[in-house]
């Protein structure tokens, strides 16, 4: 008698099909093991938006009655395995469906497993992850996050590799044989079966102790009741912005305290303040008003508000002045401009090195086809 639950945390639109493939395959494979299951997306996420963290679930039970018992709570409050298909979401997720920042491991049961697709090492990932009171395991499927848009699916075997790893870390959920058979039947088999098998063999788990994890960022809100809520669906405007500090000049726009956008970001803009010509385009075009105008007339992207869409990079007329960089490189949302003010040489060196390194990166942030698709686009154009 047992019911097992798996959640897949994914980036809305960009990874929707990936998440769907994973949860559906779990249920198909469980059927082969004589179990029953269900797969569904969180309804509150359903007006899905580009990059905004979202969830899908797979619930597997021994018999229909047991499945019904577990579905009496439609949205699982704890899961045996959390699968995170973009490592930048280890920093926590602010979804369309809830308020605040949810730690990536919030639903992972004591003794459960967090699987992350990443090229980072466990310790580096744990720097990003919130500590938990109970022990669990961290398991890494090595690779870059598989990103594509709404109309394309990046068939790079991420789905089958995650499924192979899942069989290893949670054998009571589904057997490897059943999973390989499912992949053969549902996903075209061939090299995919080999990929799943290899991932199974290579996957290990690193125990995470209670309290382990470097992310202390909390963002929780109490929802008002009907007696204290404003009537007539009225939301007060955010107070207007103002100077950096009194008398300093510059302009910081007003921003919401209860709604941030940073967990949508998988890449962030890094600014070269030395080559900036103050043309205003990034500030003007940013859809989230996330650029602060500094007292010296430069533009500093506020990392609490930036969703990582890359428009600033696209409109900037100066080469390498605004560059989108893998979000995994960062552990905080601090101001780049303030760092540059304090230590220009230090900042400039860090920034130029990072920009050079990024040029060799294959990461894409999904909003437009850069990085990960360069080769594919070239190949398609050659045809």
């Amino acid at each position: 008698m047992s019911t097992l639950a798996v959640e897949v945390v994914y980036r809305g639109i960009f990874q929707k099909t990936l998440a769907r493939n994973i949860v559906r395959s779990i249920v198909f494979a469980a059927r082969k093991d004589g179990k029953i299951g269900t797969a569904f997306g969180r309804y509150g996420d359903s007006p899905e938006r580009n990059g905004i963290p979202a969830k899908q679930f797979a619930i597997v039970a021994d018999d229909p009655e047991e499945l019904e018992e577990s579905l009496a709570v439609y949205q699982a409050t704890n899961v045996d395995v959390t699968i995170n298909v973009d490592d930048t979401m280890c920093k926590g997720i602010e979804s369309w469906a809830w308020y605040g920042l949810q730690p990536i491991n919030e639903l992972t049961k004591p003794g459960g497993t967090l699987i992350v697709t990443s090229r980072q090492q466990a310790d580096a990932l744990l720097d990003d992850i919130h500590p938990k009171e109970s022990p669990y395991n961290l398991s890494i499927v090595t690779g870059i996050p598989s990103f594509s848009g709404l109309w394309v699916y990046k068939d790079d075997h991420t789905d089958v590799r995650v499924l192979g790893a899942l069989c290893k870390v949670c054998p009571e959920l589904v057997s490897l044989d059943a999973m390989l058979e499912t992949i053969e039947e549902q996903m075209g088999g061939g090299t995919k079966v080999v990929s799943a098998q290899r991932s199974y063999e290579r996957t290990g788990a690193r125990p995470v102790e209670p309290g382990e994890g470097g992310n202390r960022r909390e963002m929780k809100f109490t929802m008002p009741g009907w007696k204290s809520m404003e009537e007539g669906l009225v939301i007060r405007a955010i107070p207007e912005g103002g100077e950096f500090a009194e008398g300093e000049g510059g302009y910081v726009p007003g921003r919401s305290d209860v709604f941030k956008k940073f967990s949508t970001r998988s890449m962030r803009p890094v600014v070269n303040f030395e080559t900036c010509i103050k043309c205003t385009l990034c500030w003007l075009q940013c859809p989230d008003t996330c650029f602060d105008v500094t007292p010296d007339g430069l533009y500093d992207a506020n990392m609490e508000a930036c969703c990582g869409c890359g428009v600033c990079e696209a409109v900037c007329p100066v080469p390498d002045c605004v560059t989108m960089v893998n979000e995994a490189e960062f552990n905080d949302n601090d101001s780049q401009w303030q760092w540059w003010q304090k230590d220009k040489d230090g900042y400039n060196k860090w920034m130029t090195d990072l920009v050079e390194q990024q040029k060799a990166e294959t990461r894409t942030h999904g909003f437009h086809h850069v990085g990960g698709y360069a080769q594919e686009i070239q190949a398609a154009e050659a045809d």
Binding site: G44, P47, W96, A97, W98, Y99, M223, P224, G225, W226, M229, E230, E231, G232, L233, V234, I235, R236, A237
Partner: protein
Amino acid sequence: MTTTVPTDMFQQSTEELISGSEAIAIACALADVDVITAYPIRPYDTVMQYVSKLKADGAFDCDFIVAESEHSQFEIVKHASAVGARTFCGSSGVGWFYAFEAITVTAGLRMPVVAMVGNRALDDPGAFGVEHNDAMAVRDLGWHLYWVATAQEAMDIALLAWRVAEDRNVLLPFAISCDGSFLTHSQAIVQVPTREQVNRYLPGYNRHELQLHPDNPITVAPQVNEDWLMEIRRQTDEAMRRAVGVIYEAYDEFKEVFGRGDPSPFIEEYMTEDAEIILVGMGTLAMPTRVAVRRMREQGKKVGFVRVKFFRPFAVEEVQNALRGAKGIAVIDRDYSYGSPSFGGVLFHELRSTLYPLPERPLMLNFIAGLGGREVMVRDVNEMVETIEKALETGKIEQETTWINVRE
């Protein structure tokens, strides 16, 4: 906001021979409504004709917008109401239904739009006679819903409507239901009050902290997910509960300022005191019913009549008290609810639910009458009473719902 043009109209109280539609149009002028939207559909369109004439005659000034459809018509007043404009609009039958996307949200956003519903059949090709199903569609949506019986009442309730709807403790829209033809197109003697009286009775509309204005920067109606909707519904529910008290207060003051009105704003009782059989109905069918009751009283029958005026909010206790002690209740519905319990009408179910908690429940029968504008006549009412008398005598209900004056 528009300003009132100087006019010598309404300096004196006058007596006019006007229809229910004209009466409401005059109420618009007296209440100095700011934004009025219109789109023609019979029988509501009589109101828009009279309103535009009053504006042209200089009786009052307003933004009079003829929209390109009912949907826009109701959207415009909803938005105008958000910035603090007193509003009026209306429609009939399927026109009213076409505006429903706006109509449903108007209550949730707490916009005190006042609308006249010229009751009309739901358009089985071209039908435009009275039927109550059109207005009934807002009964669950947070709208006040009132059925008037005379042109005088139409004017009086219109004035009360802005007073109640715009009360800060309420802020809910108000539908004034008027039977097509019998009310909208029939002229009767109406006492028109002075502007001074109306100004005394009706304060300006002020949304206070909910007003959409550059000095009060707010967002109205953002995306609402499951995190918020129950709280919003509960707020609307509470506002409707508060409306009951506000209506009593507003009605008392109405009687004081204008010197007329019934004992209760919610129901009209006619010869109910010792009645063993009480008929219940809404709107203009009150007239033939009262005549029938009077005649039966002359024959020694203990019969009475209760007219439900406010269908929403529904005055449960008042109705219970009025009907308590009667042996039989005959409910006349100028509407229907296909497939409902007893295959009956909407008012019938509401009354059965109202009377269920009474220790001694009366026998209840439902009569579907006057659909699509067919007249409800004295002999129809007699037939209803005879039917219920027979049921009381035998203690047997042959059928709960009877269609009156229908060809077989």
